[in-house]
């Protein structure tokens, strides 16, 4: 008998892969479970688009195109080569669409394919969309006030306001990478606590998972002929 140590993240990844296989099967079979694809992957895909400087409206368009391409691929004869890696396929599709977006120099408004996508719900929104903007700004100001060590505030400021590199920050402040990580971790923990204290969910994922059960239909279960083009 061989003992294999498995970390929690590995277990979670294995579970995620198993879920993906079910999701791909659901999309192929047009069952209601396919809706969970959108709920599960919208947040990370929006992160990817926003990270590339794509404005939210255009990101939503690209998001739809990403899902549509995946659905078409899944429902094609060849299907996905590795259904357990649905996230990887969506990511690569999104990344390619984002590159094309910038290559064209301007966003071309995309008309959603109503044959594949309808009634998109907005259940899985990022924190900025879920929280009052002023309240969020207030929480960040409180975080800065609570960071008593000037060095901690300086790290945040130089990382996010001045966009200095990690190496430059570490060098000038005589910090090791581990110490920098500790500074960021402390700030992160404090920010979570402040959000919680201000009535904001301290665990965004819980809220997201809770919403998963309430998601409306996203991918049309109707046949192509039943859908009227707008």
């Amino acid at each position: 008998m061989t003992y294999v140590e498995t970390s929690a993240s590995e277990v979670a990844a294995a579970q995620s892969r198993a879920v993906n296989i079910s999701l791909v099967a659901a999309i192929a079979a047009r069952t209601e479970m396919q809706d969970h694809v959108y709920v599960k992957y919208r947040p990370p895909l929006m992160v990817v688009f926003e990270h590339r400087g794509i404005n939210p409206d255009d990101a939503e368009d690209l998001l739809q195109r990403t899902f549509e391409q995946a659905i078409k691929k899944i429902r094609s004869q060849e299907g996905l080569s590795d259904p357990s890696n649905l996230g990887g396929y969506l990511y690569r599709t999104a990344r390619n669409l984002a590159s094309a977006y910038w290559r064209t120099g301007r966003a071309q408004r995309y008309d959603s394919d109503s044959e594949l996508v309808s009634n998109i719900c907005d259940e899985a929104t990022p924190i900025e969309e879920r929280l009052d903007n002023d309240k969020l700004a207030s929480c960040v100001r409180e975080l800065v006030r609570e960071l008593r060590a000037p060095r901690d505030r300086e790290v945040l400021e130089r990382l996010y306001l001045r966009e200095e590199s990690r190496d430059a920050i570490c060098k000038s402040l005589n910090l090791t990478n581990k110490q920098l990580a500790q500074v960021l971790w402390r700030a992160h923990q404090r920010f979570r606590a402040i959000l919680s204290k201000n009535g904001v969910s301290s665990e965004f994922s819980h809220a997201r998972n809770k919403r998963n059960g309430n998601s409306q239909s996203w991918i049309s279960n109707q046949s192509t002929s039943d859908i009227k083009r707008k």
Partner: protein, 218 residues
């Protein structure tokens, strides 16, 4: 720390891709990214005055914003400026596109939103670079960061900036990095143009430099 660095665009391309792939299956890390984005977006400028490093102590002075900073407690949204990339991200959705240097094939965007005018974003098509005349970058007096996107650079080449005297700028005077889509993003403070034009060129080992254009203040 990965989420924090990701938001700050501080990961190299390989690490960034790995992390984004990880995000696909990790809602907790997506939450971390969103939390750090919120910090980035709303980080008050009062931190500058409270935590600004001494002059010459780091690379910060060269890139320090020239505009006066608003107090942290100011409630108006415009008094809580966004981090450069946050502004750029939002700015991309706004109106106010201005064409400059059309003869040289360059075009730039400035932004009409008062809260965004501290960053001026310019994009440079690959065609028609290298014109003899410098392109004047049009940006407002409150601009604290200029971001130039340069596409069409071969993967083995890197982008460097030179002063009007032909000397390569010190690394603390600007930043240039390849983006995930293959283009380069060159950022510098408007003060980099104070003493003359700034030139960009791409380089590769064993090959001659390729001019990418020259830029001056308006």
């Amino acid at each position: 720390m990965t989420a924090a660095l990701y938001v700050a665009h501080g990961l190299d391309s390989t690490a960034e891709e790995s992390f984004e792939l990880h995000l696909m299956e990790c809602p907790l890390c997506v939450d971390d990214v969103e939390a750090w984005r919120a910090v980035q977006k709303h980080l008050p400028d009062a931190a500058d005055s409270a935590a600004a490093p001494a002059a010459g102590a780091s690379s910060a002075p060269a890139l320090a914003p020239s505009a006066a900073l608003a107090p942290a407690a100011a409630p108006a949204p415009a008094a809580t400026p966004l981090a450069p990339f946050g502004r750029w991200r939002l700015a991309a959705s706004l109106i106010g596109i201005a064409l400059v240097g059309a003869a040289a094939g360059w075009y730039g965007r400035t932004f009409a939103d008062p809260g965004l005018e501290r960053t001026a974003f310019f994009s440079a098509p690959a065609l028609e670079r290298g014109a003899a005349e410098c392109t004047a970058l049009i940006f407002g007096p409150g601009t604290r960061r200029i971001a130039l996107r340069v596409a069409g650079i071969a993967t083995e080449r890197k982008v460097v900036a030179r002063s009007s005297g032909g000397e390569e700028l010190a690394s603390r005077g600007y930043s240039a990095r390849r983006q995930s889509d293959g283009s380069w993003l060159v950022q510098f403070a408007p003060s980099a143009l104070a003493n003359g034009a700034l030139s960009l060129e791409s380089r590769a080992a064993g090959e001659s430099a390729e001019p990418l254009g020259c830029f001056s203040a308006p």
